[in-house]
Each structure stands twice: as structure tokens, then as C-alpha cells.
Amino acid sequence: MKLSRKFVSDYIDIPVDTHALAEDMTKIGNEYNSEGKLISADNLVIGKVISCDMHPDSDHLHVCQVDVGSDTLQIVCGAPNVRSDMKVIVALPGASLPLGTIKKSVIRGVESNGMLCSLGELGLDHKFLKEEDINGICELNSDAVIGEDPIKYLGLDDEVIDFELTSNRGDLLSIIGMAYEIGAIYGNKVKDISLDYNESKSNIDDYLTLKVETSFCPLFLARRVENVVIKESPSFIKERLIASGIRPINNVVDISNYVMLETGQPLHFYDADRLGKVIGVRMAQEGEELITLDNNKRKLSSSDIVIFNENETISLAGIMGGLSTEVESDTKNIVIESAIFDPVLIRKTSKKVLRSEASNRFEKGLDPKRTYMAMKRSLNLLEKYADANVVGGMLEYKNIDICDKVIKISYEKINNVLGINLSKDVILNIFDKLGFTTDDNGNDVLVTVPSRRVDIGIEEDLIEEIGRIYGIDNIVGKTMNLPLRKGKYDKSDSKIRSLLFSLGLSETLTYSLIRDSEVSKYTNDEFEKIMLMDPMTEDRNALRYSLIPSLMMVYEYNHNRKNIDINIFEIGKGYYKKDNSFFEDKKLSILMSGNYYLSLGNYKKVNFYIIKGIVEKVLNYLGYKDRYSFVVEDIPKELHPGQSASIIIDHNVIGIIGKVHPNTSKDDIFVAELNLSILGKIKTSKMKYKEISKFPSIVKDVAFILDKDIQSADIIKTIKKSGGKLLTDVMVFDLYRDEALGLNKKSLAFKLSFEDQTRTLTDDEVTVLFNKIIEEVINKHDAILRDN
């Protein structure tokens, strides 16, 4: 909302400068984007062209002698309309205009001491200007006084504050509303608005019938004026419209906008002769069509409110008029509509068609008293500035209570909620400044809130009014005195983060929304993708299921920037739909590529076993030590079938690990993902001390030559089974491959620890057990014992 200082000053005295006003308004809750002069150009004077000769060295430039009062200046001017005796706007050397600072200069050999300006060059938005105001210099009337300020002469010496209002304060979308708000700051009273007019003996009933056929129009007023003369508006109207950001058109259109700015009530003017004998309001029929003012054919739906006449739908209520009943330059008689339409429906339609100054006001809710006031004000102005004859009588449909709200509130509650201690007098004085009347009842006060404050309905609203006018920042912070309790806070994620941090991984933060074609990657799970109805881009039109595609994008990004050693992780959510319900699972994803360990001439490239080691560290840390297994089954097609596994605990697949398939990426990238939500449901035992044997253990090493594809986990299973409870630990400590071992053979070496809690084991009994184990492995896995 652009507030013109001149405009609002018609209704309230402002004791401070515009900057201070903007700041004071902010303090009571009305923020502003900018404030300042409507035209910021300076060093301008009114001048008169004394002589105007062609430039000796140009076919379009003129050399002018210009009387600026104190002096006569030679100025070179390129405008086609410059001539002698013309009163002009002169930018003196040093003047700052939007296009830059004016300096003395020499133009094609001729000295020029300033510039003759067009209106466009002063910084007015071009939408307010006619073409000739942009292309040619501005010609001032002959009464303009040489040497004086042309901005003041043009009435453009206004200052404007551009407010960013909160959506509850529809009342401030009017000059009068602003005047009340300013009055509440400085304690000044709002002046009356002029609403007088004369009316003829004829009656609108003789011309027009009103039919309101929908409950979504609670108030509809119509009046008729005759014999209007359509012409240019008086300059004060034009200036104020411009300062408020609205383009002047002609007196009639301008008056409807002017009244809307003053009162906040949008009006609509119909050409009475084209309108005919009926005006009515109803809901549109689904699919019906209307050609609006902008010459667009609009298809309507049943939630649009429309105005109709005898023949057809003529206007989209509250949004835009129709072409067929538009006021044009030959219009003589006008029907004025001042009405209230349902805010929610107006909002719905306007989002579809056009967000306008009018729809914005309807959406925020209107004061029915203003609906009447605006009607009168428009008659007042039309009579004065469009020579209108006002026809007697008013068509009125009213299905709304028009009364001021009365709210009872206790002084104690005001102070309790704000946490301050204001006296009764201070509180009553604030209500008075706001223009609310009060009736003090001892502990309580009855507050009558004028209907213009549509935002106020309950006690808390009044408390806010007291707070903001008193100065909400004057409230002093208190240390709360709350009962002691321990906040529930699950720190699991943050602990996993610290673990991975200390293992050398960097945490990322990626978007939950990805391209839908990525959603089913890196998983064979069955689920329904979640798509957005209204995505911003196709790149982000679905919710991810796995975080791996996100980490792959991070990899790409960094790889393209020659960042190597990309070892990252993220804890985030994966989303899916199943059986018509939505699910969000928390997942930990890891991506590793490049080097993991670096030192002089010695580095360790990431491989499957490094990422596996990290995943194992996480699982052990979470309490699942010795409970998980890595199984080569159900490998998604984006992973290498020979270097990937599903991770399983108690028959639950809790994650996936593997190398990215060479078809997906040529680089050596390893990824893993654990579903922390599923893990969270798998119970872990408490951390407890386990007795350490007082007796020494016996350690024996053994190596087998095996087929390349036999898995170490299977051998360990066999060893453990035949080792029984005296075998306390089995560890693979060497993998060796050499052709000398035989075709497709490998050697695996194991370290076996034997121990008893109650006695020292003898070498003999361990040897017996050890030999039994070896035999078992040889038989079961077709192994050969490897002796060194």
C-alpha cells in the first residue's frame, strides 16, 4: 500500500516528517519497504525558452536560450517539441535525475548548461505518462512562475511510504484507515470526509431492478447518475492517484479509484444505458463465458460470483468488469455499484483471473459502513468533477449486521497476558487514541470497536492493540519460573553424526525433492512414489525414497569441480506411499570415493571393505555387534552385482551396500544406506560387563586354499560350529591370490583363539580341537590346508 502524505493529510495532521512517520508506523506493526519523495530529482527550476535556433552541426538538436529567473542559460535540446516562448522544466548543472547527474557540457561544439526535461526523465513510472510526456519535453502552463520549483507547481511534491501490511489489516488499505492509525500514534483526531450532494426528484426504481440471488453477496448498493461529462480529472485527483500507484484515465474512472483509495471500498461503474433494466448477483454457471474489460474471453466456474443484467452475465464481481457495459468516452448515464462479496470466493477467483487493487480489498474483508460511505463519496465527487446529476433513491440489498462490536475485558487480563503492569488510565487512553469508546466497570472495561476494524473480534485482539500502541518493545523480558523437568531429546542422530565425523566423513544437506525417475533407483523395494501436484520444476517433482541419488548428485557436482576424495554422508528422510498411507523413514546414506587414508607416498583408495568397515562401526556403535550379516541377494541394478550386498539383522533387510555399477558410473564409487527407522525397531541389549577369563588363551593360525567364490563368512560359520564354546574368537587375517595356488583359487588365513573361563587349556586338547576344525573345513568346503 502506497501512502501519499498529501492525500492522508486531508484527514489527519501529521506532526513529524515522513521518515519518522514510517518508523513510528513500523513500531505499531505496519512495516514499510521504502519511503521518500515521489520525485527525487532536485535542482530543477521553471524556465522560459527565449530563443530556439537549430544547432549548426545537427539536423535535430536545438540551441536554446532559457530564462531561469536568476540567469539566462544556453541549453542544447534534442526534443522535437521545443520552441520559443515555451515554459519548461530546467535541470540545472548539478541536478540529479534518475538517468544521472546533469553537468555543463559541450554538445557538438556548442556549450550546454543544463537540460530541458520531459516528465519521463523526472523519475515518474512510465505507466503514469502519456507517450508525448515520455518523448517530448514537458510544457508547463503560462501561469508557471519562472525560477520556481516545477515539481511543486505540478503538484508532484509529495512523499510516499510504501507499506508492507499484514494480511489482517484490510482497514489500512484506505486513506481513512491510515488516518485513524496515524491518529492512534499522535493522538490527533481524524477529520470528516465530504459526502454532500444534491439529488433530482426522479428515482432509480423507475430505471432499474436489483436481484441478489446468492448469499455470497451480503450487501449490494446501486445508484444512478445522469449526464456525466467525461474529461480529464482535476490535477489533485491525478496527482494522488499517481502517488498511490494508479494510472489516471478520465474523471469518472479516476473517481471510482479515488474513492476506493480513500475508503477502501472498491466501486464499479456501469454504463447505465447499456446495462438495461436489471442488475443482479448470482453464482456463475460452470463453464459459462464472459468477455472481460481486457478483452479476454474467460471461462467461469460455479465458485465465481457474477453480475448479470436482463440478457447476460456482465461482470466478474469484485474482480473485473465486462466489456459489454463498460463506461466509455460517450457514456452519459452511470450506475454505481458499491457492494461486499464473499472474501474467500473473491480470493479464489482472483487467483485464477487477476489480483487487483479491488480484489485485494474484497479478500481482506470490508466494513459495511464504508460501503455506504463510498457510495455517497462517489456521488459527491461525480457531481463536483463530472457534472453528474444524482438520481434519487438507492437500490439496496442487505443481509448483514452493521454494528460496532462490544468486547468486555478485565484490566488484569491485559496485564497478565502482556506481562506488564499498566494503570487503568493508560489503558483507557490507548483505547481512546484508537477511536474505540470505553465504559469502565471497575475491574472490567466494555470496549466498543468501530466496524472499520474488521480484524478485532476477541479479547486477545484488544490486548494486542494495547500492547502495540503502548509499545510492545517496552515489555521487559522475564525469566520464567517453570517446574524442573528433563527435556526429552533423542540424540541418536547427532551421535551417529559425531561417529562418522570422526571416521573422516563429511555431512551433506540435500533436497528431499528430486526427479521422479530417480526415486526408484538404488532399491528393489516395492512402494508407491509420492509425486507433487504442483512442482516448481520437473527436476524436483517427487519425494525421494533413497538418499543415494541425492549423494550421487553431490558426487557429480564435486567431481565436475575437480574435488577429489569425496567421502560424505547424510541423515535424512526417505518418503513413500503404501496402502494409501504416507511413510517417512529416517535413513543414513554414505558415499565414498577417492582416497580414505593419505600419508607420504602411501595412500589408501576407498574400496568395498573400507565402506563396509564404516558401516560395521556404525552398527556396532548402535549395539548390533555380531548380529548383522552381509548377503549377496536382491542387489539393485544400479549396483555392481559382484561387489554389493544387502545388510540383514534378524531377517530384516536394514540396508544396502555396494559399488556403483559401471553402467551407472565409470568412477569407483561406493555407497551404503541404512534404514534407521527399521533399525530403531530392532531391540539391542544393554551394555554390560562380561567376565574376562583369568586363564591364558591359546591362539592358533591356519590357512586354507579355497575356490575363489567361497565366502569367508561360510568358512567362519563352519569353524565356529565345530570349535564349540572353547573357541572364543575367529578372525580372517589374510587373503592371498596367486596363480601358483591353482586356477580360480585363493588362500584365506584365520586366527583362532581358544579359552576356558575355569582353567588353563592344555596344548594337547587344543590341538585335538584345532585338527577337528581343520578337517571339518577341508571336508565341507573342498579346502586344502596350506602349509608354509
Binding site: N168, L345, M536
Partner: protein
Amino acid sequence: MNIEEIKKNIEEDISSVISLNVLNEIKTKYLGKNGVITSLQLRIKEIPAEEKKEYGIMLNDIKGFFNDLFEKTRTKLLEEEVNRKLKDDAIDITLPGEGIISGSIHPFSRIIEEISDLFASMGYDVVDGNEIETDEYCFKRLNVPDGHPARDAQDTFYIDEEFLLRSQTSTQQAHAMEDNSEKTPIRIICPGKVYRRDEDATHSHQFGQVEGLVIDKNVSLADLKGTLEIFAKKLLGENTKVRFRPSYFPFTEPSVEVDLSCFKCGGKGCNLCKQTGFIEVLGAGMVHPNVLKMGGYDPDVYTGFAFGTGLDRLAMFKYNIPDIRYLYTNDIRMLKQFDRKGEE
């Protein structure tokens, strides 16, 4: 037997020794089976009785002399050997330490953890909450019915007619009240991700928010300010000031915008705060009676306050990150800067 001569021989022999082996050979020469001193000892039988005592004293003198000199020399040689070894073992300690790559924790998580730790220490529960929400909990239960103009400020991603991606963590207000079947006092914060159809240099379609909610008897706006003062000082420094400005949110009444004194210039005015000395950081207010009622709390008995703020902005302030998009680009060179322990 000439004592002085033997001593002189011992001295000569030992002083020229440069290794422990040679020293041991000398020991054998004097104290071995056929050693010089051993032979003198054996001769005691031949010494007449009256001279035996004197002979014994003399022998002990020579023996003592030898042992002293031997031990001294041995210690010296051992020391020299250790020193030589130490010298040999000396390395270039300025070469780089062996390195596991170093990890880092994202500023977004750091801010969440810092805030969560603080509020948990003040007895607030830290709750997570779903990101896929219903219109009911994201708007209606927060006093934002269909067609409410406040919906404009939050252009929301819808999944279907009913479900959406939460556009604010305030959704947890409604859940916290509903889930508390006893309708006892509430103290929660909810940090998490939210989504809006909006993207430019200062807006990301995904960003973080933290919502705080306190419901109890006699909670006031002054309590809110006191609480936010603790929060602001903890996060941005002891000298941070909190300023309230009236505002409007449908789910609080009264509502305030909360400005914090500019952490960069300390309130003097700079580019960051646009010369105002303050930065708009939070939205807050007293829980609207309609919201309390919908949550099953009697607004005549209970009052409460709520506050919400953007985590990305806080992270940007705290770590001096100039563009919100840097938080989501995940350039390794950026991530690796966040490799230190968190603040307590």
C-alpha cells in the same frame, strides 16, 4: 707386588676402551679365572700369616679401584651408545602426520544441535514431526481456514487434495496439544525441514525452521521475551539484544516480529542490518485462543507462547555464509570448513 704399578696398568687398559665388549675383555683380564687380580688372590695361601692381613687390605684396594673404574666407564659407554642411537633415530618432525581424511558436520545440523541442547536443558522436549502433513494440521488447526489471506505468504506444495509438504514447523503445535491427552503444560521445540514454492538468493524451496511452544498457566509475552533473550544470547553472543515489533500471524494473538541486535556490528549499523542495527529473525506471539481450543486446552485456564525461526538464516549468521544456496550445494571445500567440535 707393586700396587701402584698394577693400578697404573688398570688405568691404562680401561682409559683406551671404546666399546663394551673390550671393556668386558678387560674385566676378564683382571677378574677372570686367570686374571691378574684373581691370581693375586690365589697367592694369599703362600703369604706368611703375619703379612696376610696387610696383603688382604692391599688386594681389596686394587679390586675396589678396578670396580670403580669399570662401572664408571661402563656407564659412560652405555650413555654414549644410547645417545648415538637417539641421534640415529631422529626424524623430520615437520613432515605431515599420517592422516585419515578429516570429517565435518554440516552447519545446518550444528545449529539444530545447539538449539536443541539449549532448550532440552531448559526442560523442553525436542520433537521431530512428519514432513508430510495434512492441510488440517498445517493450516486449519492453526487458525488459517480455507481462503484465508495468510495462506498467500506460504505457497505450499500439495501431494493431493488433503496432503502437503509442511510449509512451517508450527504444525507440531497442533500435534503436541492433541497428543497430550492429559492436557498438562507443554514445553517443546520442533526443529526440522519445511518446504515452500519459492526460490531465489534468499529463499530455498526447502529450508529449516524451529518452532517453540510453551503452554502453562499465566504465561505472558514478557516470559516469551525472557526466553528468547536466553536463546539469542546463547546463539549469537552475550551482548545480543531482543526487540519486539507488533505483527500478525493467524495462530498467535498478540503477535510479534522479533529482531535481534546485529551480531556483525553489535547494533551500530552495517550492511548486513541495512544500517538499522537489528535483524529480523523470529516470528512469535501468544497462542491464539482458537488454536488452544482446537488443541483441547481451555483458553480461560491456559495461555501459551509460540515462536518460530529459520534455521538456515541462523546458520548463515552464525557462520558468516553469504548465500542460502551454499548450504545445499555441498561443495566439499565448503563442507570441510566445518570440522571442529561444536559449541557447548
